[in-house]
Assembly symmetry: C2
Homo-oligomer: 248 residues x 2
């Protein structure tokens, strides 16, 4: 089985990490729109337009399933992508919500959703959680986490003061949805600040989701992966080597 | 006289502020490529391609001069823009260097240049300063300053820890070139950390440069300004109102 993985840039590599650790696919074609990253600060219409252009890119490959490893795209462009292809398209929001539902049974739990401006403004996580009867949901746009991670900062004073800036008024968070594929890289620091709240990670969530909803299984000994980018593919490959290490 | 002002997004508004304070032009057409901002993390070829598309936009207006209010574009695409138009095109780097030359006479002064990845990697400031016989130049990519300013943070713990992260090893800086049009918004905090080093501000520098090299003068009672953006022009106008206040 051959999967396409689409992200606005490098963040989707955290989803690729989960896919590789589970050897779900025989081959992965990764495409990052690095020339126009970040999507999280952009408008709905722009995100849809860029996502449909990415879909055209994937039509050059004979993929069996397309994974949208970007929360901003999953929030705004999933319906439009699906309307323009016959293959299954899986986003990180529906899988993240499903993962939360599996892990957090008490509907009175305090759920925190963090993400880019686009993801949070879409209210996609919030609406899905309300639909599942969760009552206490807080959403925060944590716009600085992406550039901090891209700067290679995963801990230390800058990250701590930024986390404190966003989270200082929060109390007793039981679970946090990392609604951006950059955030797993600072998961430990976030989780520690939130006194070890349950964390929902887009990559792990999508693996669970693919297994339960698409009958994907860990069955390949090895996954071949090819990286493409709209600019500087070498830069993308370097980050992939640093984040994915012996997996590629 | 009618000027076009081009920036990748909102940063160029600090240049507009200087232009408006000096009433140099009768009319300004501002265009921000907000759909693809930021340019500072992008490749040379991408910056050139996007800049030539912006030039096409300005061809719809009968402008007399084009001001590139973006350091990353000035660093990489100035020659290509000039090759594709017959009107004068002025960038912020040549004017910034000229402003420094006017303010800092001692060639042994410690000069700090800060900017985006694109601007610093281009070495455009450094090469020009070396050509002018300045001997002690330090360049630093301060990638987090743009998102911090865009988050509306102009002071406080996050900015202080970020400034400290970038500047902690610097000693006795005499002058700092704010090589990004976002940075004037955090000029006071930077200057204070650097013990009141002389600061070079792209907007003020370009006003001086237009006066000395292009015979522009403060002669209009009022400047009409029109804002255009590749996405969310309302958002751009809101930022313009907040930054430029009674000037517009």
């Amino acid at each position: 089985m051959k999967a396409g993985v689409f992200d606005s840039g490098i963040g989707g590599l955290t989803v690729v990490k989960s896919l590789l650790e589970n050897n779900i696919f025989e081959e992965i074609i990764y495409y990052g729109d690095t020339a126009r990253v970040p999507y999280g600060v952009k408008d709905k219409n722009t995100i849809i337009r860029y996502s449909l252009e990415a879909l055209e890119f994937f039509k050059n490959f004979d993929i069996d399933i397309l994974i949208i490893a970007c929360n901003s795209v999953s929030a705004y462009a999933l319906a439009e992508i699906r309307a323009n292809t016959s293959i299954p398209v899986v986003g990180v929001i529906e899988s993240g919500v499903k993962a939360l539902e599996n892990k957090v049974k008490n509907k009175d739990s305090n759920i925190l959703v963090i993400g880019t401006k686009a993801t949070i403004n879409s209210r996609k996580y919030e609406d899905a959680l309300v639909h599942l009867s969760y009552k206490n949901i807080t959403s925060i746009q944590t716009g600085l986490f992406v550039p901090i991670v891209e700067e290679g900062i995963f801990d230390g004073e800058i990250l701590h003061s930024t986390i404190n800036h966003y989270f200082k008024d929060l109390k007793n968070i039981d679970a946090v949805i990392l609604g951006c594929t950059h955030f797993p890289l600072i998961e430990d620091t976030i989780s520690k600040y939130l006194k070890n709240a349950v964390t929902i990670h887009s990559g792990d969530a999508i693996v669970e989701f693919l297994k339960s909803e698409y009958s994907c299984h860990t069955k390949f000994n090895n996954t071949t992966i090819k990286f493409f980018a709209s600019e500087n593919p070498q830069g993308l490959k370097q980050v992939a080597k640093s984040w994915l290490k012996e997996l590629i």
